[in-house]
Symmetry: C2
Subunit: 550 residues, 2 copies
């Protein structure tokens, strides 16, 4: 018997309803997309109402309730749905196609480490699959299992959110893995400190999740990726607890920390994370500039990284993303905005920058250091045909740094594909790869040929390489949405990998990148990982099928 079940229609959306944006609020942008994609974006189709056969409680759930009666277990469909997928475009398609979704049996929610240990033991004994779930913001299908693997329990870690220690004397802090970004930073900020880790998912992601996925924050060019920030981990596994070496630097054998960073829940549950913390910088200074070609600005960033003058925040948008961002700021077109726009265009044409690429960088620290860096960067900008544009844009970006995901869901409902893909590449491969990718996408029907929109930016820089982050926007093929996405994803990741890029710079492998990860990873590495997996999780209950096939 099928019942209509009352589920909030927006269960799959990003953040609180009051913070969400609609494309219609940005008429210039909407108009641009409608023109480019040759489509009408007023046809808003909400996700269909959810229908489900009423289920009998399974024997596994009954057994859990009997053996661990004190632990929270949720079997209502609303909770299970909420924690069945992450936030990738591919994941969100399930909101429109419920029938394809494998819904977990239950959500279990340990309130402390002891309960977590009991759950892991129970699941190990009963060979029940556990999929760790922190903030749920993952965008590479971290929570999807392979076809045929069903009956999973989602392990909701959000109550494991204690402060173990903030050591102001040693500049370290230790948190339980389920602590969310904003709470963690607030605790540190109140003491004058910061951890310096601000991924775009900051509001809805946890420190344990950051470690499990090798996350990078928007200030990673100064504070490092999570790999650099983490000093040590406590990890709970079916085989027992691992505490990795506790020092910032030592030669006490092999440090197993890195074995769990990026382990995507397959080896154990990251229970505690000890990190470096920093005094909040006294001075923050934005520098923004525009460049006539993408290469010019990229060269500035390369020079900054290679001269050890990396900014904290780096945001360098290509001409398409720059134009997109400008349209995204205009909520009420008027004679004034039109005149300003007209004037700006005339000015840019005069400067030979009809299609500018905008660079926004922020230097943090003590004022004298910041001054030196700003001076150095300013000179570089000028030497590379850049034109300085003041601090305003950077500050504006900062205000809305976590904002973009709030509009995507509305765009999906209006029949748009909106997906993001990212990698890290040697500096000299950035430009050729980007060019080739654009050409290949424009040859693809799934992308809409020349109608498709591709935006790109650089946001994490190294002496040897830079990340590059793409946003793909095109008209959704509502009938063949999964197939369309697969085709686009294949073109993008095939191209990335051909040019020597990583399958991901900061989103991890997950369900979506596994094919390429396995292509790229040597046989002996996989053997090692399997040996570790078999040692820690001999019954294969932890997020099975991720990274490698068991």
């Amino acid at each position: 018997m099928k019942n209509k079940i009352e589920i909030a229609e927006d269960w799959w959306k990003w953040g609180a309803a009051t913070n969400r944006k609609k494309l219609a609020e940005y008429p210039k942008l909407k108009q641009f997309l409608e023109g480019k994609l040759q489509t009408n974006l007023d046809d808003v189709q909400s996700a269909p109402t959810f229908e489900l056969e009423t289920e009998e409680e399974s024997s596994v759930v009954k057994n859990f309730k009997k053996e661990l009666p004190h632990i929270i277990i949720q079997t209502d469909i609303a909770q299970k749905l909420l924690k069945s997928i992450g936030k990738s475009y591919h994941d969100l398609l399930f909101a429109f196609h419920h029938e394809k979704l494998d819904i977990p049996q239950a959500v279990v929610c340990p309130k402390d480490q002891e309960e977590l240990q009991q759950i892991i033991s129970w699941a190990d004994k009963n060979k029940t699959i556990l999929v760790p779930f922190g903030g749920g913001s993952n965008v590479v299908g971290a929570f999807l299992l392979k076809d045929g693997m069903t009956g999973r329990f989602v392990l909701d870690l959000s109550k494991l959110n204690r402060v173990v220690e903030i050591n102001e004397e040693a500049f370290t802090a230790t948190f339980e893995g389920g602590m969310y970004g904003p709470e963690l930073e607030k605790l540190l900020n109140d003491r004058g400190f910061t951890m310096g880790h601000f991924p775009q998912s900051f509001e809805f992601s946890t420190i344990g999740g950051w470690a499990a996925t090798r996350s990078a924050g928007q200030e990673s060019s100064h504070y490092g990726k999570i790999d650099d920030i983490v000093i040590s981990l406590k990890v709970m596994t079916p085989a027992g607890i691992v505490n990795t070496s506790m020092y910032e630097g030592d030669a006490e054998g092999i440090n197993l920390k890195s074995l769990f960073i990026g382990s995507e829940g397959i080896l154990g549950v990251i229970t505690e994370v000890k990190v470096k913390i920093h005094r909040k910088p006294k001075t923050k200074k934005w520098l923004t500039a525009i460049f006539p070609t993408f290469e010019d600005g990229a060269n500035v960033l390369k020079q900054l990284a290679q001269n050890e003058y990396s900014p904290s925040v780096v945001r360098y948008s290509d001409e398409e993303e720059t134009a997109f961002m400008i349209m995204y700021t205009i909520t009420k077109p008027s004679l004034i905005t039109d005149t300003l726009e007209y004037g700006a265009k005339a000015f840019l044409n005069l400067k030979g920058m009809s299609k500018p690429n905008i660079l926004m960088i922020r230097f943090d620290g003590e004022k004298p250091d910041v001054d030196i860096k700003v001076k150095f960067a300013t000179k570089l900008v000028k030497n590379h045909k850049g034109f300085m544009t003041g601090e305003g844009l950077g500050k504006k970006w900062e205000e809305s740094r976590y904002g973009l995901p709030y509009m995507r869901d509305d765009m999906l409902e209006r029949g748009l594909v909106v997906d993001t893909m990212e990698t890290v590449l040697p500096w000299n491969k950035i430009e050729p790869m980007k060019r080739e990718l654009k050409a290949r996408l424009e040859n693809s029907e799934a992308y809409g040929g020349e109608k498709g929109v591709l935006l790109a930016h650089l946001s994490h820089i190294y002496a040897s390489a830079s990340s590059i982050y793409f946003t793909v926007i095109t008209k959704m093929d509502r009938e063949q949405a999964f197939e369309q996405w697969t085709e686009i994803k294949n073109i993008v990741t095939d191209t990335i990998v051909e040019f020597g890029g990583a399958v991901s710079h900061h989103h991890s492998v997950g369900h979506d990148h596994q094919k390429w990860y396995l292509q790229k990873t040597d046989e002996v590495t996989i053997k090692i990982l399997k040996a570790v997996k078999n040692t820690l999780d001999p019954n294969g209950i932890l997020n099975p099928g991720k990274l490698f096939d068991e």
Copy 2:
């Protein structure tokens, strides 16, 4: 039948004979030690002439020669001795007590990676123990096997010393594992670059060895430990070749690089190392100062690290080491040096620094940055009762930065114990641990009670912690030399571990620290390492018994 075998008497000594120093060249120092230790240091006893039964070539060696006739194998005693031990005090005692030494069966020396692979396959098939040997400078017994494990082949990697790539565009370089420090740096320097890794063993250690032992160079507070410098590794194992992820930053699954850094030869042979390189700094500025108490200067260093103003080189000696260093500079005492010394003492007394602790730090980089750091450091020094003493001492230290090991062998021959021990500790444990260690040693007969000499310095700093490096000097008990060393080593490492220090900050675990390493390391970690070992080296041929017992 025993034959006297002609072996250069100094086979066990550090470096070239012409560079070696004798204690007698430093009369003030000799006089001080003679007074403090109440002994005469003119009784120089060379290591005894070597006597050995003539050996038939073993069937294993014959088999190797038959199956791999093109590969260099050395079975002469001189070569075998040279590569039987490292350079720890404990190792060097074997020079005086040959009879206790387990001499390898042979030294095999692959001239390229293909030969290395053949050797590993051969050894795996024949279950012959291979002990990888780079520069041979290890000071924790890296080359000693446990009692009863005999018949090892030493794997001399010195011919695997090719440049794979120096990529000036990407600021990376890749070298084969057997490349020595000076050659590597020269290649980079000629192109305007540096790797920034200068351990005291620099002249006689290899990049593969640095990685295998988690080495730290004297400039690690700027360039990082080898863990930070290495981007990726190629490792040859009996199970095949591992190439770790090639990016400076990525989220492409689990990065196995760290599994091999500090693996001490038990998992595979580090064949290629890809590292970050840096432009040679334009400005280097020494700042030296003296402090009335050890704590004052340590506080300056802590502040520098926590304010992200770490110098490149840090060298902060306690009062005993400061006094020692001053005596070590005086080769020809005269009325002038005596007067100067007298004057200096009078001056120091005036300043309330009868027993100064000397700090030497060097800041590198672009001049404006260096100026800011020097200014900041200078202010800190003054705020912590320090007295600035100019650049001269720092420059002098730099000239002789690799010099100290050249005198140790002479001190051994004169009947002195000279050993070094080091760790990393939270800042607030440095002082109490040092105090407790001194007290415990002074209660120990092996150390000579209050006659013993303990020198200490800090040389690698972090926001949370600092390394501390001890030199122990006392009168050798020539009859019970091994037992005496064991007692001293136990006191030192027990104390370090009790105060929460690592068994080593940059010398690795080896033979000498294994007891404490196993005490400190959790069961699950050992299980993981064993699983990896069994996967890569199922026959246990690679440096068996290190880190954990098989």
